[in-house]
């Protein structure tokens, strides 16, 4: 118990802060912060597996998050029959063409030795393949995008419950990571960082501009929910009774019947949105706990020790007969898959998919700040980093406003400096993140909860 004292203390402080937000601001805000903290925690766990366990630097988190979101759309949206009949055949045919192209390239790679001729053959296959695919898919894409463009204009999905997308998102992200890993893992650390960052930008560009698949920047709204809808809840008897029971003493103070009824209504409306958020929290918490157990088990297993050995001294591990390339690829895929789950969870919670909102600042660099601040290599640290940084990211604006008011207290309200500063309060969050990251890296380079190696 004593050993874990700092972990318990750090988490208690974190929960205390969220509860304080609940008391002073509102429980709605507190819960939405908590939910996003949980999602961030899943993302940081994914990044932590790659960086903390294996020392692989992956700046492509944004791309995997977006793929997870794409999975949520493809799984949960109902199929658009018209679009399928208009262009489905062309799309499927181009898909077969792409698969055929890949198989052909693989065949050439296996069959012939490395030579100039082989490179030319592969280049010819790829270029002619791309031209052929464009030729086949273009009419299909145009037809699909013309089907009721204001509402659909895309193929839709499978119409399954959105929860399945969490797994499919992991598969998507893992698949992409497999391809990237095959291509880029041999690169040196900083090249790998740049390459993954750029590849994730390519992924976003595709998701943004292939309207037939994702509706692009027109966004997909109104996704299915795993939780009940507020409007439905407000009319269910058991829920109204529940709210009444919870606020019994408060309601009893009101004598007038109609006044009591309106107060109850107000409480039910508030309660319904809190209840929905609690449902999400429950679901997310289950995911976080399952992942935490799995990652902890992995960390202290022989496999985890091997990963640390590879991280700390690649050559030695290689000499001991460990297949470094294979293990790197494996952990790259695993970590990315976890990020993919988080991406699907995020879209599930928001109920909408907005490809335009995926920006590297928010989805790549912020996650890295979380991992570094929390403590790389330590799962509890990574989760704490996710919580603390997200909390600060949201609460930075109120804190910044408070600080501005404090420092400019001597100035009049109409003073241009004060007005300017108050207008730029939203950007204080960048400042806080940056300074926080720099301070942690300087004075506590292993993070708030550093990695500790226990021999069990």
């Amino acid at each position: 118990m004593r050993k874990n004292l700092n972990v318990i203390a750090a988490y208690s402080i974190m929960m205390g802060l969220i509860i304080l937000v609940g008391i002073f601001q509102s429980w709605n805000i507190a819960l939405s912060i908590f939910n996003l903290c949980l999602i961030s925690a899943v993302m940081t766990m994914g990044a932590n597996i790659q960086w903390g366990y294996a020392g692989l630097i992956n700046f492509g988190i944004m791309g995997y998050t977006a793929l997870g979101g794409l999975a949520a759309v493809l799984i949960s949206v109902n199929p658009v029959q018209e679009a399928w009949s208009a262009g489905g055949f062309n799309i499927l045919f181009s898909l077969f063409l792409i698969i055929g192209m890949i198989l052909a390239v693989r065949y050439v790679l296996k069959k012939y030795d490395k030579s100039k001729l082989r490179t030319y053959i592969i280049a010819t296959i790829i270029i002619s393949g791309i031209i052929l695919v464009r030729f086949v898919s273009e009419p299909g894409i145009e037809a699909i995008e013309e089907v009721n463009p204001a509402k659909t204009g895309f193929l839709g999905g499978f119409g399954l419950p959105i929860i399945f997308s969490w797994i499919v998102g992991a598969v998507f992200a893992g698949g992409l990571a497999f391809i990237i890993g095959k291509v880029a893992l041999g690169l040196r650390a900083d090249y790998l960082a740049i390459a993954t960052l750029l590849i994730s930008e390519i992924v976003i560009a595709i998701i943004k501009h292939e309207d037939w698949l994702t509706r692009g920047v027109k966004n997909v709204i109104g996704l299915k929910r795993p939780a009940p809808y507020e409007v439905d809840l407000q009319q269910t008897d058991w829920f109204i009774n529940l709210v009444e029971k919870f606020n019994f003493s408060k309601l009893n103070l009101i004598q007038d019947f109609s006044e009591r009824q309106s107060a109850l209504n107000q409480l039910v409306i508030e309660g319904s949105s809190i209840f929905v958020k609690l449902c999400y929290s429950g679901l997310f918490l289950v995911v976080v706990i399952i992942l935490l157990i799995l990652t902890q088990k992995a960390l202290y297993s022989p496999w985890g020790r091997m990963m640390r050995a590879i991280r700390d001294n690649e050559e030695a591990a290689n000499a001991m007969g460990k297949n470094v390339v294979k293990q790197h690829l494996l952990i790259f895929v695993l970590g990315s898959a976890i990020v993919g789950i988080a991406g699907a969870m995020l879209v599930t919670q928001d109920g909408l998919f907005t490809p335009g909102s995926y920006r590297p600042m928010r989805y790549t660099f912020l996650i890295w700040v979380m991992v570094i601040v929390g403590g790389s290599g330590n799962n509890f640290g990574a989760i704490l980093g996710g919580f603390a940084v997200w909390f600060l990211w949201i609460e930075a604006a109120p804190i910044g406003l408070y600080l501005v008011n404090l420092t400019t207290a001597g100035l009049e309200d109409t003073h241009f400096l004060k007005q300017h500063l108050i207008e730029s309060v939203p950007y204080f969050r960048f400042l806080m993140m940056g300074i926080g990251l720099l301070l942690i890296m300087r004075y506590r380079p292993k993070g708030i909860l550093p990695e500790k190696i226990e021999i069990k």
Binding site: I57, V183, A184, L187, R188, A189, D190, Y191, A193, I194, A195, L197, L198, I199, E201, I202, A205, I206, K208, H209, M361, F365, W368, V369, I372, L421, E423, S424, Y427, F428, R429, F430, L431, M433, G434, I435, L437, L438, M441, R442, P445
Partner: protein
């Protein structure tokens, strides 16, 4: 006649814009490459440092405009640039002293320095947005065009117009002068040579009596000049928006790596490689073929290889291909 029209068309829509954009990228890429070669880390704050320099230039421009100083046909920003550079160098040396110096002395691995540069990126971004705000700003004044499309048509009697913006010529000229001076400095002067030696082999350079503090300081000074001028030229040509500058970091990185990171000349050419391939691959050639081919063979579609949405994706794909087949870049990197 049709043939000349076709050439003018390409000049107007591909060659001149690509040359301008390439020059802007080239300056940024040399900045990245210098930092990588001498300070030995990938600087993720590149875009934001450029936006910081541009912000300083804009503030000085506004100041001069309020004083009524102007250069007539040339943009006022040109007078502001030297002051902005001094401001920028001061900021960079400050950051180096409080942030990077510690890790350099600790001999931290490059990855850690890259992480630290992400912290700097956050801080710089915040400072820029707090001081000047996130909105789009144009600070160009003076004569906008050297030749307008209409005038060109009148003079030559061609169907196609050629419009040359003064900022385009300005960008290309300034880049050429700056880069020539820089290469002269690196190759001919004693300080430049010692920088090359330091980048090549740090220990050997120290043994031969090169002062690392001086090298680092000069690197930051050159970097400050490049970042400010590159950023300001981009801002004059297009417009200043902090978010765009952050995004520009990506093609700049691509240019630096394609040219061989650590190799300034490679970075210079890499900028143009990226710019030309972006524009060549996303331009719709329909009109060009209409001029060149006989009427019976005119194409139906736009004859566009990729839609313009994939402009960025093009440069990144080139980068990935280069990384796969020639990780040291087209022009052997890591020798300054």
């Amino acid at each position: 006649m049709d043939f000349i029209n076709a050439i003018i068309l390409l000049l107007n829509y591909i060659f001149i814009p690509a040359l301008t954009y390439g020059s802007q990228l080239a300056l940024g890429a040399i900045f990245v490459t210098l930092i990588y070669g001498i300070l030995r880390f990938a600087n993720f704050a590149t875009g934001d440092m450029m936006s910081f320099g541009t912000m300083a230039a804009i503030l000085f421009t506004w100041y001069f405009q309020s004083l009524g100083v102007s250069l007539g046909v040339l943009p006022t920003a040109l007078i502001a640039i030297p002051f902005a550079i001094i401001f920028m160098i001061f900021y960079m040396l400050l950051i180096d002293k409080f942030v990077f110096k510690y890790y350099r002395n600790q001999k931290s691995p490059p990855v850690q320095l890259a992480m630290v540069s992400i912290g700097v990126m956050f801080v710089t971004q915040a400072v820029v947005r707090i001081i000047i705000g996130p909105s789009d700003r144009r600070f160009f004044d003076g004569e906008k065009f050297i030749i307008k499309a209409g005038e060109f048509k009148e003079i030559t009697g061609l169907n196609e117009g050629l419009a040359i913006k003064s900022t385009q010529i300005l960008t290309i000229l300034v880049t050429l002068i700056l880069v020539t001076t820089l290469f002269w400095f690196l190759n001919k002067t004693k300080t430049g040579k010692s920088m090359k030696a330091y980048s090549d082999n740090e220990d050997l350079a120290l043994l031969s009596g090169i002062d690392p503090k001086k090298i680092v300081m000069i690197t930051w000074i050159i970097a400050g000049i490049l970042a400010t001028i590159g950023g300001t030229l981009y801002g004059l040509d297009k417009s200043f928006k902090p978010f765009t500058y952050f995004n520009n970091m990506l093609p700049i990185f691509a240019a630096a790596i394609v040219g061989g990171i650590g190799n300034p000349f490679g970075a210079f050419l890499g900028g143009y490689v990226i710019a030309f391939s972006e524009i060549l691959l996303t331009y719709a050639y329909k009109k060009f073929f209409m001029y060149v081919l006989p009427e019976s063979m005119e194409p139906d579609g736009l004859v566009q290889l990729l839609s313009t949405d994939y402009k960025f994706a093009v440069s990144f794909s080139i980068l990935v291909i280069v990384l796969l087949y020639r990780p040291s870049g087209i022009f052997k990197g890591k020798v300054l």
